[in-house]
C-alpha cells in the first residue's frame, strides 16, 4: 500500500507533464504556430541540445550568485534573528527597517546597488540577499520566541543561564521555523539573482542566465529563450528539493512536518 502511494507520488505528476507536453506539441504542429511566437517542446529540446553547453556556463554564473546569497541569507538572517531575540530594544528599533527593505521592490533599488557596489558579483549578491534574507529573519525570530512556557519555567527552576536556555531550548525550538524560512528563501534568492542580472545587463565579464534570456529575446531566438527558462526553473526546483531533503533529515525524529504519513 505504502509503496504504491510512493509510486503514484512520482508517476502521477510525470504523467500529467507528458500529457501536457504532448498537447503543447500537437497544438503547435496542427495550428502551425511560428517558432518565434511559441516553439514546441521538440524545438526547445533541440535548442537545449545545441545551446546547452553555453547556457550551462551562464547557469553556473547565476547559480553561484544564488547560492552565495542564500548562504549569506541563512547566516546573516539567522544572526539578525538571534540578536532580535536577545535584545527586545534592538528588535523593536530595527525590525521595521528589515520590513522596509523587504517591501521595497528589488527592481527599483537594484540600479542603485549596482552603481554603489563596484564589484559586479558582489552587487548582484547584495541584490539577491536583500530579497532572500527576510523570510529567514522573520521566521527564525518567531521560532526563537516560541519556546514552550513550562519548559522555560523548568529551565529557570534548574538555574539555567541565558546561554543554556538558548542552546538547549530556544535554538532547537527555532530550527523548524528557520528551515521553513530557508525553503522560501531558496526560491527568492534565485529570483533576486535573476532580477539583479536583468537590471545589471552583462555587468562584467561573466554573463548569467538572465541576460541570456534577454539576449535570446532580442534576437527572437525563442527556443533558446525557453531552453534558458527551463534551466532556470529546473534550478529552482533542485534548490527546493535539496532544502526539503535537508529539512526532513534535520527534523526526522521529532517534527510533524518531517514524518511520513504512513509511518505510524
Amino acid at each position: 500500500m505504502r509503496r504504491r502511494t510512493r509510486l503514484w507520488r512520482i508517476a502521477a505528476p510525470i504523467a500529467v507533464g507528458v500529457v501536457l507536453l504532448a498537447l503543447w506539441q500537437a497544438i503547435v504542429t496542427v495550428e502551425q504556430i511560428p517558432v518565434y511566437i511559441l516553439p514546441g517542446p521538440a524545438a526547445i529540446g533541440a535548442a537545449l541540445w545545441t545551446d546547452g553547453p553555453s547556457l550551462l556556463g551562464s547557469l553556473l554564473v547565476t547559480l553561484r550568485i544564488t547560492l552565495a546569497a542564500l548562504a549569506a541569507a541563512a547566516f546573516l538572517g539567522g544572526a539578525i534573528a538571534l540578536v532580535f531575540s536577545l535584545s527586545r530594544i534592538l528588535a523593536l528599533s530595527l525590525f521595521p527597517y528589515a520590513v522596509i527593505l523587504q517591501v521595497t521592490p528589488i527592481v527599483a533599488i537594484a540600479p542603485l546597488i549596482i552603481i554603489w557596489v563596484q564589484q559586479p558579483f558582489l552587487a548582484l549578491l547584495v541584490c539577491a540577499w536583500i530579497v532572500a534574507f527576510f523570510p529567514i529573519v522573520s521566521n527564525t525570530t518567531i521560532g526563537l520566541n516560541s519556546a514552550e512556557r513550562n519548559l522555560l519555567a523548568l529551565f529557570r527552576l534548574y538555574g539555567a543561564s541565558r546561554w543554556q536556555t538558548l542552546r538547549y531550548l530556544r535554538l532547537p525550538t527555532a530550527l523548524p521555523y528557520f528551515l521553513a524560512g530557508l525553503r522560501i528563501s531558496g526560491g527568492l534568492a534565485l529570483i533576486g539573482a535573476v532580477v539583479a542580472e536583468f537590471v545589471a545587463g552583462t555587468g562584467g565579464t561573466e554573463t548569467g542566465l538572465a541576460f541570456r534570456i534577454l539576449e535570446a529575446g532580442y534576437r527572437l531566438a525563442i527556443p533558446r529563450l525557453f531552453a534558458a527558462l527551463f534551466l532556470l526553473s529546473a534550478t529552482g526546483i533542485v534548490i527546493y528539493l535539496i532544502i526539503d531533503v535537508l529539512s526532513r533529515f534535520a527534523l526526522r525524529h521529532w517534527h510533524e512536518s518531517a514524518i511520513d504519513e504512513g509511518e505510524e
Binding site: 523548568l154 527552576l157 538555574g159 530550527l175
Partner: protein, 258 residues
Amino acid sequence: MSPIVSLRGVTKRFNSGVTALDPIHLDVAKAEFLSLLGPSGCGKTTLLRIIAGLSAPSTGECRLALDSTDRSAPAAGRIGFVFQDPILMPWSTALGNVLLPFRLVGRVGAAERERAAAELSAVGLAGFERAYPRQLSGGMRMRVSIARALVTDPDLLLLDEPFAALDEITRMALNDDLLRLWESRRATVVFVTHSVFESVYLSTRIAVLSSRPGRVVANLAIDLPQPRERALRTNPDYNAICATVSAHLSRAMVTEPS
C-alpha cells in the same frame, strides 16, 4: 524537626487584579506526602509555583530548607517539578530529556548517563532510552517527566496534577509507581490534585483549599497504613476518609458562585 517548606501569610494578586491566594499559612515536614486538594482555579498551581520559586508571592514569605551547597542557585536540582503535561523536549530522546537537569546544573558524564538510565528503568521505561517523545504513549511520556524530576534526587518533589490528563487505568498504575518511588527515597512530596480519591490514596496529609481566593480550610492527616496497596481502594476505612475529605471539599466550595 524544622519544616522543609514554610509558608507564612503568602498571598498572590495578579496584575489583572485577580486575587488568587488569601493569606496561606502552611508547613511541609520532611518526608511528608502532602496533597493540595481544591476545586479548579483555587490557586493550587499558583501556590506550587510559589514554592518552586517560579512565581513570587505578593505578600508573605516562602522559606525552603534544602540541603544545598550551591549558594548562587540553592534550589537548582534540589527541587523536582512535574507539570500537568509531560512538557518534554520533542527533539530529544527519553534519555536526553532525563539528562536535562544534569546538563543545566552541572555536566553530563558517564555517571550521569548511568544515573538517568537507572531513573528511566525505575519508572518502568528500561529499553526506551533512545525513544523520542512522539513514539511514546501519554502515560510513558509522563513517566519520562517524573524520571526527569527525580534524577537529581531532589529533597522536594512538586507535582501539579500530573495524572489529570491520563485514563483511569494508567492513572492508577502511576499512582502506585509514585508511591513506590516516594517510599524508596523518602523525598518530600507536594502533590496538587482535584481528585479526592487520589489524594487520600497517596497522601500522609491533605490541605483542602477553598475556591478563589484560595485559603487552607482544612488540614487533615490521613491515618492509613503504609505502604499503601491496591487493596486499600476497597478498604472501608479508606472510603470513610474519602467521605470526610469530600465533605470538607464541598464546604470549601460553598462560597463559589456558580
